[in-house]
């Protein structure tokens, strides 16, 4: 019996040791530059968890990098997925400080659940493009081509913003498309096209830009195109309101706009 007690004690000790380590792991504001960051009186510290639409992956990584360079005390953990998956996670208790959606419908779900803090604001716009393989081997030039039955077309699921936007574009153009798959976020659509498994998909122009050399975009004329509006909001119960506010402000600052624009977003 004493053996079991010993095992129990050791495991308890391990558990508490791990807990202690986790608590100590908060970043210490060492090696701060002497130059004060823009317009902040007290230096920002702590963790910031940002839930952002999959289409924001590259731009928010760049924004986070710039923000943490300006505020070295802050560590940012981004979580990128389809906006609908993200808002579902937040409503079900995921700890997030900021939510950036690729449409207003999913932001509205956050508001309906009374989980927003303050008003959301539109910080970027995006347009749709047809993603095709580099060199456009299937000669896809317009939305109507996607109805061709020799093509494998992959779209995002209707719950994902780009899935809905894509359907709106098809409706405007009067095209009926039968996709082979409804992917969980826009990056999966880009992946299936760049792997060559799909011939075409509807994505944001920024995703084509981020997709590298294996994908290229076919422009959708403005009369059929849909402008995706990206709202951002603080999440209620944020553990780090000052840093979260500063990040949201940074996204709309001149530097933030410059970064977003460099990834192909249209900034208001």
């Amino acid at each position: 019996m004493p053996k079991y007690v010993a095992v129990l004690l050791v495991s308890l000790a391990l558990v508490t040791a791990c807990g202690g380590a986790a608590i100590q792991a908060t970043p210490s504001p060492t090696a701060r530059p002497t130059v004060a960051p823009t317009a902040t009186t007290t230096p920002l510290t702590g963790k910031l968890t940002i839930f952002a639409a999959a289409s924001l992956t590259e731009s928010f990584n760049a924004l986070a990098k710039e923000f943490t360079t300006q505020n070295p005390g802050v560590t940012i953990t981004p979580n990128y997925a389809g906006s609908s998956a993200l808002v579902t996670q937040i409503i079900n208790g995921a700890q997030a400080d900021i939510f950036a959606s690729a449409d207003e419908a999913n932001m509205q779900k956050l508001v309906d659940a009374k989980l927003n803090s303050g008003d959301s604001k539109i910080f970027a716009n995006n347009k749709l493009q047809i993603a095709v393989q580099a060199g456009n081997p299937k000669k896809i030039t317009q939305l109507a081509d996607l109805a061709r039955n020799d093509l494998i077309v992959v779209l995002a699921a209707p719950s994902v913003p780009v899935g809905t936007y894509g359907q709106q574009a098809f409706d405007k153009a009067g095209v009926k498309v039968t996709p082979k798959s409804l992917e969980t976020d826009v990056k999966q659509v880009v992946a299936k096209v760049s792997l060559g498994e799909a011939d075409a998909g509807i994505v944001y122009s920024t995703d084509v830009k981020a997709g590298g050399a294996k994908v290229e975009g076919v422009t959708i004329p403005d009369q059929y195109n849909v402008v995706a509006k990206y709202p951002i909001s603080l999440v209620k119960g944020t553990m780090n309101e000052s840093a979260a506010k500063a990040f949201v402000d940074f996204v709309s600052s001149a530097k933030g706009k410059e970064i977003l624009a460099s990834f192909g977003f249209i900034v208001p």
């Binding site: 019996m1 004493p2 079991y4 007690v5 129990l8 389809g82 609908s84 998956a85 579902t88 494998i152 992959v154 699921a157 209707p158 719950s159 994902v160 996709p179 082979k180 798959s181 409804l182 992917e183 969980t184 299936k192 792997l195 060559g196 498994e197 799909a198």
Partner: protein, 263 residues
């Protein structure tokens, strides 16, 4: 050994055991409590759900059947024929037991996708797996067959070889021994392996959505439908979860003597 010390340990263990049991029981209770019972029947017969259920059953049964057709010979070879590199081949073919299913899906995609390493030749002869129901069956077989193979191989290794030897000395050839002695003797294990493989195929998510995609009626199985429903209609997601739970319970009850002993 004094009296109080074992008591303290017993209390601690029973306490931890209760936490462990609650950890499994509470989510199941929640699933039942949150189920939209008032409109459960309507939700279950909604075209999307019915389609997903049908597709799940068809694909998982096909995967279980394929696992048996190819898995029995594979298990037999592992158990009866010594060949160089057997342990390596065996390890590779049972890898999906521990491999994250999404990784399996990516591997299948780069192997048998339209532009995959071997998929281009498949495509040339008109076989296309991604975004097809056949692709779902392939993905499910990939993750499920190892369960079948290890179950049957264990039975082949632990069975009394003297029956086979007696049959051979009495003049039966290898095929006849296999048919009339070996297979009947390991019958219960084949059944258990089938059920395990089928249950694994039924619950398959990661490899399926990665390799076969997600489209209602062709590749959207129950787990995929449940996952996507969570983002739009949580009632429907809970209900789909409950159906899968019920199916799993039936499997477990059917297998309880084999897996758990009679508790």
């Amino acid at each position: 050994m004094t009296r109080p010390r074992p008591d303290a340990a017993t209390i601690a263990f029973v306490g931890l055991a209760i936490v462990a049991a609650a950890f499994f029981i509470l989510p199941l209770i929640a699933l039942i409590v949150r189920s939209p019972w008032s409109h459960a029947l309507a939700d279950l017969t909604a075209p999307n759900v019915a389609e997903a259920l049908r597709l799940s059953l068809v694909c998982s049964l096909a995967a279980a059947a394929l696992s048996a057709v190819f898995g029995i010979p594979l298990a037999w070879v592992y158990a009866r024929i010594a060949f160089p590199g057997r342990s390596v081949v065996r390890a590779i073919t049972t890898l999906p037991l521990v491999l994250p299913p999404v990784v399996g899906g990516i591997a299948l995609l780069v192997a048998f996708g339209r532009r995959g390493v071997f998929g281009e030749s498949l495509d040339a002869i008109g076989v296309r797996l991604p975004f097809t129901t056949a692709g779902v069956i392939v993905a499910e077989t990939f993750v499920a067959m190892p369960f079948f193979v290890i179950t049957v191989e264990a039975a082949l290794r632990s069975m009394d070889r003297r029956y086979e030897e007696a049959a051979r000395t009495l003049g039966a050839d290898r095929a006849r021994v296999l048919r009339t002695v070996t297979l009947p003797l390991i019958g219960p294990s084949i059944a258990a392996g089938l059920v395990l493989a089928w249950a694994r195929a039924l619950g398959e998510f990661g490899a399926t959505i990665t390799f076969a995609g997600n489209f209602p009626g062709t590749t959207q199985t129950m787990p995929l439908a449940a996952y996507l429903a969570l983002e739009t209609n949580i009632d429907s997601a809970v209900l789909l979860g409950l159906v899968l739970l019920a199916v799993s319970m039936v499997v477990l009850i059917a297998l309880r003597d084999r897996l758990l002993g009679s508790a």
